[in-house]
């Protein structure tokens, strides 16, 4: 092998590349031993590839224009969302079974407006400053919520007390190395418990171009992209945190957006500039959650019945498969 009939190989930088470089078919750039020359030839090869690609694109565009109306429609680019492996538990909006389930599950009293949400926010032992501040901000975002310090109390003992005092939900923010990194959300009168991994937590002061503090008005809730059964139940859990009747004068909206199994939480204030334009301004903390496990009863690590656990070996095998 060798360079064959290619034009002059570069010598320290090399002469300018000719218009058309001919490589013999059995030639491969990686066979040149000399690194400098090999690099040079590789760059030349790359340029050639790029040129060919551009030419192909131009040709296709010309063909498209030539055909005019009869041209085939543009190909939709493949995205991960397009290529998502179809999940058989995807909820069909007209499904009666799902509707029936939702009418009779633990959130039914909330959705029938029989209960008003009352939230208890707490942390793991000895929270550091960042976690404490995050808890406070979260408490301003979620109406009717109270922050209590956990001084070494066991969750299993707290839960009956909370139920006795009429709390509907319990949020525990787990902390590691001075940053919050986990969230346990438990619906109290024996509701499901979800355990999340929390990441990229931004406090209010770290958000750029933020507005004033969130007011006391009840915000609206947006839940995006919760498609499967599991996603549905998680979405309902989040919805059950907020009182059912948002106060539109407050113009605040809390968003839980699910994308590829990551749930992004944002809190905005919006304003309608016209019927087709709306401006939003971010207030409030932001964080992302990833579901780790969903337990049927209240928090019980030993004897709980798990509805769903994230098993890395089985579930992370495909890049196009998502569970929420």
């Amino acid at each position: 092998a060798g360079e064959g009939s290619a034009s002059t190989p570069g010598d320290g930088g090399g002469p300018p590349a000719p218009e058309r470089v001919l490589f013999p078919p059995t030639f491969s750039v990686s066979e040149i031993k000399n690194k400098q020359r090999r690099h040079f030839m590789f760059l030349r090869w790359k340029q050639q590839q790029r040129k060919e690609k551009l030419a192909l694109k131009k040709k296709r565009r010309k063909e498209r224009e030539a055909l005019g109306d009869k041209a085939p429609p543009k190909a939709v680019p493949k995205t991960i969302e397009n290529q998502r492996v179809y999940d058989e538990t995807t909820v069909d909006p007209n499904d009666e079974e799902v509707a029936f389930d939702e009418a009779t599950d633990e959130f039914a009293p909330y959705f029938n407006r029989q209960t008003v949400p009352k939230i208890l926010i707490t942390t793991s032992d000895r929270p550091r400053g960042r976690t404490v501040r995050f808890c406070e901000q979260l408490a301003t975002v979620i109406p009717n919520s109270h922050v209590y310090y956990r001084r070494g109390l066991a969750l299993k003992r707290i839960i009956p007390q909370c139920i006795a005092r009429d709390f509907t939900d319990l949020i525990v923010i787990n902390e590691d190395r001075k940053i919050p990194n986990g969230l346990v959300l438990s619906h109290l009168p024996d509701g499901p418990t979800a355990h999340f991994r929390m990441s990229s937590v931004r406090l209010r002061k770290e958000i750029k171009r933020k507005g004033k503090e969130p007011t006391e008005h009840v915000p609206e809730v947006i839940l995006n992209n919760f498609t499967t059964r599991l996603g549905h139940s998680i979405g309902r859990m989040f919805a059950a945190l907020f009182p059912h009747d948002p106060q539109f004068i407050g113009r605040q909206v809390a968003t839980f957006h699910n994308q590829r199994d990551y749930i992004f939480f944002r809190f905005h204030r919006y304003i309608f500039k016209s019927e087709k334009k709306v401006g939003i301004q971010e207030l409030g903390p932001r964080f992302t959650l990833k579901l780790r496990s969903l337990q049927k009863g209240t928090f019980d690590s030993k004897f709980g019945e798990y509805e769903w656990i994230h098993k890395r070996r089985e579930m992370d095998t495909s890049r196009r498969k998502f569970h929420l």
Binding site: L223, I249, E275
Partner: protein
């Protein structure tokens, strides 16, 4: 003989159990009573020696005497100490009855320390244990990267804006926002279609004709001047309902205007606006929460 052993190991030559630090020498021998490297605490350099060691929560007294110096396998004699603290101390005393004071004293001290830490272990296991879960670096990196990509793919701002506009179109906000004709007409048509199915006709359809006459052209958007206060002045509102809502809106605008930054768009209403009243009393349609 022990003196020779000590003169070799202790001072001059190498002892593999000896650990030196700046201030002190330690002895890593497991039978050592005090843990320091001394003439009196070296188990190798003393032919008569005793220690207290614990295994699996039970304490034993180990003793070594000269008679057994030739039998390494049987060198250390082991006595199980009772779980009762006082009884165990008595046992130590009776086993080490004619032994040097130093060894007896140190044995008892060591035994006390051991029992204390065993008690502490038992107390701690009853409390909540913190479970340490190791992070897997590759997986953490992978998840962070995927989260970034998901964030980019999510286009959150667009999604939220779209959703809010949807809700506006579906009239979940009721009468709070009054926007130009087109959307409202569309909404009207929708509601007219619905009114067949709706039982109570709270609508006055005469007003539609009135409204047609009252229509005025609204200015284009993006004029940067007006405050919401101007809007209020321009309005001619007759109905009380509307007035209430406007007051509410005014309050909202006041709260808005407090936080108003002149350069930032979303914090204020933009154009000078001529309010169009539609004297309709429509039921606010039920708010839908999309899942």
């Amino acid at each position: 003989s022990p003196q020779v052993v000590w003169s070799m190991l202790g001072n001059r030559q190498f002892c593999s159990y000896k650990m030196t630090t700046k201030t002190q020498n330690f002895c890593r021998n497991e039978y050592n009573l005090t843990g320091l490297c001394n003439r009196s605490s070296c188990p190798l350099a003393n032919s008569q020696y005793a220690t207290v060691r614990e295994e699996k929560g039970r304490c034993y007294l180990y003793m070594k005497t000269i008679e057994r110096a030739a039998f390494p396998r049987r060198l250390w004699e082991r006595v199980l100490l009772s779980k009762n603290y006082e009884k165990a101390l008595e046992q130590i005393d009776e086993n080490l009855i004619y032994w040097p004071r130093f060894i007896r004293h140190k044995c008892k001290q060591r035994f006390t320390k051991i029992t204390q830490y065993l008690i502490r272990i038992r107390k701690l296991t009853l409390k909540r244990q913190r479970k340490l879960v190791p992070l897997r670096r590759k997986i953490e990196r992978r998840e962070n990267r995927r989260e970034e990509k998901a964030l980019i793919a999510a286009q959150l701002d667009n999604a939220i804006e779209k959703e809010l506009l949807e809700r506006l179109k579906q009239d979940t906000y009721g009468d709070i926002y009054n926007f130009p004709i087109h959307a409202f007409d569309k909404a009207l048509q929708q509601q007219d279609a619905e009114s067949e199915s709706e039982s109570d006709a709270e609508r006055e359809e005469d007003d539609d004709d009135e409204d047609v006459d009252k229509r005025e052209f609204v200015e284009a958007e993006d004029s940067e001047l007006s405050d919401f206060e101007d809007m209020d002045k321009l309005e001619t509102s007759s109905e009380e309902e509307q007035e209430e809502e406007e007051e509410v809106e005014k309050q909202a605008s006041h709260s808005k205007s407090k936080g108003k930054t002149p350069l930032k768009g979303p914090a204020r209403r933009k154009r000078p606006y001529i309010e169009i009243e539609y004297e309709e009393e429509t039921e606010p349609s039920t708010k839908t929460k999309t899942a």
